[in-house]
Amino acid sequence: MPARPLQIAPARRLALIALLVCAACNRPDEAVIPTEPATFDRIKSDIDRLSTVDREALMRYMVRTRVSTIPGGRVVLQPGTTIRQAIDAQRSFEAEQQAKEAAAVALKEKIELERTDRRKALDNAVQVVLLSFRYAPSDFELRRYSNTVQIELGIENKTDRNIAGIQGITVFRDLFGNEMRRVRLRYDKGVTAGKTVTWRGSIDVNQFDDKDRALSQLEPATVKFAFEPDMIVFRDGTSLKVEP
């Protein structure tokens, strides 16, 4: 009996070709993501066919369905969501986040710039210099009951307005630039426009504090002084201010 060649009916042949064509055309991003994690392997082959960029975006989206470090970043995986929809949603979310971050950076830069300007204005308004620096040990006869460092400062008003008060931080450094002490200065006796005043004060020295002891032992001629103003109030009621 002669062997019969395999015959396929034309209709069946067409159906088979259509099936093959469909299988070839089937886009991986059209697959629906299962909401049940245990059945996630149903779309594994589709995920493997995605480009690396799309795959990463999908994974980031999937992570967001379970956890998010960004407030409001958590997303609920709706039944019927396709891979493409998930990728698009992730892309738009990331674009939104980037826009927010850019806006935050711009705002930060603006604030920094404003602060720099205010700092500059403050620095240009007054000049404070250290005129003398002297360690004075406790002396009961002189009614000085603790060890102190006596300082004298010269304050110059470089503006054309009368200053009512100055507030800021005085910084004392040694010859090598090591910071020894920061002391807050509040001066409210006023300085006339363009004039200079002197101010005398003292810093208590804690004998049990290493830095305080080091401060008291500084050679006066080698002390490096700086003043960082954070607020100046003028007699006319206006003020210059920067957050310390």
Partner: protein, 179 residues
């Protein structure tokens, strides 16, 4: 003598072949993680010495070290299995264990959680380092409590990354449930 060599030759060839079947990338990743975990266990043990035996801090560090040792033991077992028997499988409740279908997603979720836990633990340690006395002790205890989830998350991550079951306790049998 010759006969003996001939007897062992197929065995030797088989073991070499089996050894070479192991996935080199997986073996290397395992080796790196084993070394990292070993260093962490050693570090934890050194830290434990600082605290007196029986103290709360000693206990907390011991718990963290135990968790890391558990992870290390599983990794070493997996490493040995990969080396000598690449088709090694785990059986859980009488069934061959398979990694979860969404392993990659789970791994990424754990990575996010681990980063968060690590940063919290770091911040708590830094806070504790700035304090002294009784408050410092309490802060150190808090820091150790924060370090615990790091070890546990690490265990889960290693299990997913290297493919071994996370299960810690077997399910109770029917007879046990009846009681």
């Amino acid at each position: 003598m010759m006969i003996r060599i001939l007897m062992f030759a197929p065995l030797l060839t088989m073991s070499v072949l089996v050894g070479s079947c192991a996935d080199p990338a997986a073996t290397e990743a395992l080796r790196i993680d084993v070394e990292r975990l070993r260093a962490r266990v050693d570090e934890g043990k050194k830290e434990r010495i600082k605290y007196g035996e029986g103290s709360v801090l000693n206990l907390l560090v011991s718990m963290r070290v135990a968790s890391d040792e558990h992870t290390l033991a599983m990794l070493e077992q997996k490493s040995a299995a990969l080396r000598w028997y690449p088709r090694f499988t785990y059986t859980v409740d009488g069934q061959t264990w398979k990694p979860p279908a969404d392993t990659e997603v789970q791994l990424r979720v754990l990575e996010v959680e681990l980063v968060k836990a690590q940063s919290e633990a770091r911040a708590e340690r830094a806070r504790a380092a700035r304090m002294g006395g009784l408050i410092g002790m309490i802060a150190q205890m808090n820091a150790e409590l924060k370090a615990m989830p790091v070890a546990q998350l690490e265990y889960q991550m290693m299990a997913l990354r290297h493919g071994y079951p996370i299960y810690l306790t077997p399910k109770p049998s029917f007879e046990e449930l009846k009681k």
